[in-house]
């Protein structure tokens, strides 16, 4: 069979399985777990994208919360309930926030870059917490049940719709990110990782490349946060807290940075491990996660994705 045809066939079958098979077969809470995992995978993808340029951020929850609260504010003050509009608003908010903070952050590297992002995320956390009249403080904001492309859905139908929305959007943005990785700008980011001076001597602005990458990562984080807001239905300042940022970095290491699919696998695995760890031992689930991270670092430093190198390769005849 033609290579292209086979690729399309594989894509169609997996789309059918994911979008029709999974909702039919899986129970409600497993579907919710996958919804959350695929949504959060986008924020992790942002981390992985920046890591290509050796830029580690400990504040990516900043964008996650920005997306969620952009949606929350629109629900609360504008009475918007359409999921697609809320997602678009979150995307715009994420890009705007990235464009603003990037002006400063894109000048820094290494630990300064990591901590500056952390600082900004904690400033946002503080504001979300203290500006009670605007943000609802610790009470947060209720998102309610959104409409989807004008359709009002409820109960199980909404849960399935949110799952499909999350999976489709994640798939599309994973593809976009893949395009970025193999584009000249994506390669420039890798070049920056190795040698910034040489990049400038190619006539390319290092600052611009980092700035644009930072905005893209922020946009991914914001869409991720909005999807979570829509599927969970309630948002609180914790979305911006440093431990949330830490979780994204954790999942990035768990999944690996070798492919755009790694964050998705890492995210599903993380949500599963957290759920079962909590079920098995409610008081020490964080320790279980810590042990998992240690095992990954010692035995699979390339993340779970590195296991794919053991898969049998089709011979390319």
């Amino acid at each position: 069979m033609d290579k292209r045809l086979r690729a399309i066939a594989v894509l169609l079958v997996s789309a059918l399985l994911l979008l029709v098979g999974v909702p039919l077969l899986l129970s409600g809470w497993l579907l919710f777990l996958l919804t959350v995992a695929s949504a959060k995978a986008l924020a992790v993808l942002g981390i992985v994208l920046l890591l290509r340029g050796k830029l580690l951020t400990f504040g990516h929850a900043l964008y996650y919360a920005t997306g969620a609260y952009a949606a929350g504010m629109a629900v609360r003050y504008l009475g918007v309930h359409e999921a697609l509009v809320l997602l678009a608003l979150a995307l715009v908010a994420g890009v705007a926030m990235g464009a603003l903070l990037g002006l400063l952050v894109a000048r820094y590297r290494a630990v300064y870059f990591a901590l500056l992002n952390l600082a900004f995320s904690m400033v946002l956390y503080g504001m979300l917490l203290k500006l009670y009249n605007v943000t609802g403080g610790t009470d947060g904001i209720g998102i309610g049940e959104p409409t989807l492309a004008g359709f009002r859905l409820g109960g199980n139908a909404l849960r399935i719709a949110m799952y499909e929305l999350s999976v489709i959007l994640t798939a599309v943005l994973v593809y976009f990110t893949h395009r970025f990785f193999v584009s000249p700008l994506g390669y420039t980011l890798r070049a920056i990782r190795d040698n910034e001076v040489r990049v400038e001597y190619m006539g390319v602005s290092v600052w611009r490349a980092v700035y644009v990458s930072y905005i893209i990562a922020g946009a991914l984080g914001a869409v991720s946060g909005c999807l979570i807001a829509l599927s969970v239905g309630h948002i609180t300042p914790d979305l911006a807290f440093w431990s949330q940022s830490g979780e994204f970095v954790f999942v990035a290491i768990l999944g690996g940075t070798g492919s755009v699919l790694a964050p998705v696998i890492g995210s599903v695995l993380f949500e599963a491990v957290r759920n079962y760890a909590f079920e098995l031992s409610p008081y020490t689930w964080q320790m279980t996660l810590g042990i998992v991270l240690l095992l990954i670092i010692f035995f699979l430093p390339g993340g779970v994705w590195s296991l794919t190198s053991y898969l049998p390769r089709r011979s390319s005849r």
Binding site: F180, Y187, T188, A191, V197, E200, Y201, M202, A209
Partner: protein, 247 residues
Amino acid sequence: MSALLETVGLTRFFGSVRAAEDLNMRVTEGETVGIIGSNGSGKTTFLNLATGYLKPERGRILLDGRDTTALPPRAITRLGVARSFQIPQLYLGMTVLEATLLSLAARAGRIGAWAPLQRDDRIGEARQTLAQFALDTHAPRLIGELPEGSRKLLDIALAVALKPRLLLMDEPTAGVSTEDKFEVMDTLAAVLRDSGITTLFVEHDMDVVQRYSQRVLVFDQGLVIADGEPAKVLGDADVRRAVLGHV
């Protein structure tokens, strides 16, 4: 003929060390000029000044009559000045082909986020460039795995891929073994002749300068102490004392 590169009263000190003082020089289009001098005579500083990496305390740098003194390296590169480095400055985690493709994309000003870097026509051009430097067999290899001599050539190939009007090379034979250095220089000379790139290169090796440059500048403690035909200049007793430390 007007100068492609010209410096006027270029001055730069590092503390009390004089790297350049009232340095006036010109390179005309089509020339191959060698700069020679002992360690610390200001050769590399000159390249760093000419490409905007360092700023002079006084003086101006003119490229084709245009003042580039205040411009950063990337702006000067975009005006057609490329450089290579004494210690190759490469992307060790990339393949030879990828790095070359990136140089070609940079030259075209096409650092976008959507269209793929690896286009068929661009790959063809990259392979041609690599073939000129006899690096085509290394195309799929990681740069980090290349032997030192090949890295040196690739460092220059990435600069040539930018199709500059002026190429500045910092010790093209440093780190290359004595047996190989003439072979490396022959390869380079052929590429540069074919592509008609004006070249200014820094060297501490008298034989290399003598053989491959049309004109030589001799640097000594930030001053140009001689400027002229290689045979004449390098035979001068004062020059030999300045460069070699003996006659």
